[in-house]
Structure formats: C-alpha cells, structure tokens
C-alpha cells in the first residue's frame, strides 16, 4: 500500500539521518514480546490524525546516545531517552504530512506524548484509516502507525 511505503520511507530517512541508525533487511524480527516505549503525536489541519512510534528499550537507549552524541560508556538518562523518542516522532510527523497532504497545507503538530503502556493501538477513532511500517535497524527496530481519515488513505492509494 502506497501510504505504508511513504511512512516507511520517511521514518527510515529520519532514523538514518537524525539518529545515525542503519537500516537492516531482516523482515522476520519479532516485534511483539519486548519491553518497549511508545509515543503519540496528534496533528490537526486539513485533516486530523495521530502518529504512533514504538521502539524497544535497547533501541531507545541507542537512539538517545546517537542523537546527543554521548561519549562511549555514558548512558542517556530516562528523561533524555523519552525526549529523543518524542523528537524523532515529531520529525517523522513533520516530514510525513507534506507528503500525505501537500507542501502548501498548514498543520498544527502537537507536542508528542509518551504512551503509558508502550503499545500502539489497533485503531484510533471512528472512520480512521491506517498505515503501518516496521523498520529494522542495526540497533533493533521501530514500529509506526499513522491514523488519518479513510478518505485521505483512499486518495493516497488512488494516486499510486
């Protein structure tokens, strides 16, 4: 599905360029039964929706370490890790929306919120379509879900 690919491409670019993480080809990685942290980004504008990002704890620590540029042997604090996760989600959302809508569209991207149970919901609101992506990284993986109106999902599919 085209929107899945767009979500994957944008997120992959952000993980590579912002967090200096390499993409790996392994598609068989088990993402279910691991301790993970998740963040939610709400946005509004021409349409409203949510982006969810979930990463396992080990990946999150590496993410924060890479972004901050911590010396070898130094571990990022829990606050730094949460901040890194929020910021990556924020950058993915900001780069994704012009590709889903248009470059002229003006969105309000709200401050990312940590999801208390570390999970991505199966659905988010009535009438919402979804796109999903799983990115396998040298330091683990990242899972994403984008919830936006079905009409926007259908339009994206039709334009492929």
């Amino acid at each position: 599905m085209k929107l899945d690919q767009t979500l994957y491409d944008v997120a992959a670019d952000v993980f590579e360029s912002l967090a200096f993480m390499l993409l790996m080809p392994d598609d068989t990685i088990d993402t279910g039964d691991v301790r993970a942290s998740a963040v939610r980004v709400d946005f509004s504008g021409p349409f409203a929706g949510q982006l969810f990002l979930r990463v396992p704890e080990a990946t999150l620590s590496a993410l924060a370490t890479n972004m901050i540029g911590l010396p070898v042997g130094e571990t990022p604090s829990a606050a730094q890790q949460r901040d890194a996760l929020r910021e990556v989600a924020n950058v993915i959302t900001g780069n994704l929306l012009p590709k889903v809508a248009s470059r002229e569209a003006v969105f309000a991207v709200h401050a990312p919120d940590i999801v208390s149970d570390g999970a991505i919901p199966a659905a988010c609101g009535a009438g919402q379509g979804a796109a999903h992506a799983k990115i396998v990284l040298d330091e683990g993986f990242a899972e994403l879900a984008l919830f936006i109106p079905e009409s926007v999902v259908d339009k994206a599919a039709a334009s492929s």
């Binding site: 540029g69 901040d83 950058v91 900001g94 003006v106 969105f107």
Partner: protein, 124 residues
C-alpha cells in the same frame, strides 16, 4: 571571531544535537546558551550577548515565530541573525519566516547544510 549562539528548542536532546552539529560543521563557537521556549529565549537575549539565534518553531509558552516577531520589534535586537531549524513542512509558513529575515533549515539536517546557511546569513 567566535560566535555566541543561542539555541531555542523545547527538546533538550535537539538542543544538544544542534550544538554538536555546529561543532562538527566547524563553526567557530564562543558561548552556547540554551532556552526551552521563545520566552526563555528572549530572557536569554537580555542577559547575554548573542551573535546568532537558532530557533525551533513549535514550542510551548512562546513559539519560535512569536519570538522572532518580538526580536524584530526590539531596536537592540532587530538585526540579530536568526536560523529557524524546524520540521515545519508548510511552504506557506516557511516563506513567512523568511520574510521576517530568518533563514530556514529543515529537520533532519546535516552539518554541511547548517554550516552553509550560517555562512550565507552572516555574510549577508
């Protein structure tokens, strides 16, 4: 001559990234001051001599655009070089920032882009 830089972003991780990027880019840095929102940024400008402001747009309390408007209205600060580093994807909003005299760098960014934008801004 070393530049005193003010970095304004509500993410402490992003502020650290920007500082790291400036060093990697070879920008001659003096003091680095940090602020978590536009109001703290204005307070920092009153307390410290700053040669360059690097600011995000979407922040609580006072956003980057509001901070830029306040800076441009202050006779003591109005010509301060400003670089906006943001995820902002709306061309409409980007052009609005540029009309306020700010340069724009999109997140994610590379050290080379940041270096070139700063060089261009300071020469102009």
């Amino acid at each position: 001559m070393p530049l005193n830089v003010l970095i304004v972003d509500d993410s402490s991780v992003m502020r650290a990234m920007v500082a790291k990027t400036l060093r990697i880019a070879g920008v001659d840095i003096g003091e680095i001051h940090q602020a978590a929102n536009g109001q703290e940024g204005l307070d920092a400008l009153r307390d410290h001599w700053v040669d360059l402001v690097i600011v995000d747009i979407n922040m609580p309390v006072m956003n980057g655009e509001e901070m830029i408007d306040a800076v441009r209205k202050d006779p003591a600060l109005q010509d301060l070089p400003i670089v906006v580093i943001s995820t902002e994807g709306s061309q409409t909003r980007i052009e609005r920032m540029e009309r306020k005299g700010a340069k724009f760098v999109h997140k994610p960014f590379t050290p080379e882009v940041v270096r070139d934008v700063i060089a261009d801004l300071l020469q102009g």
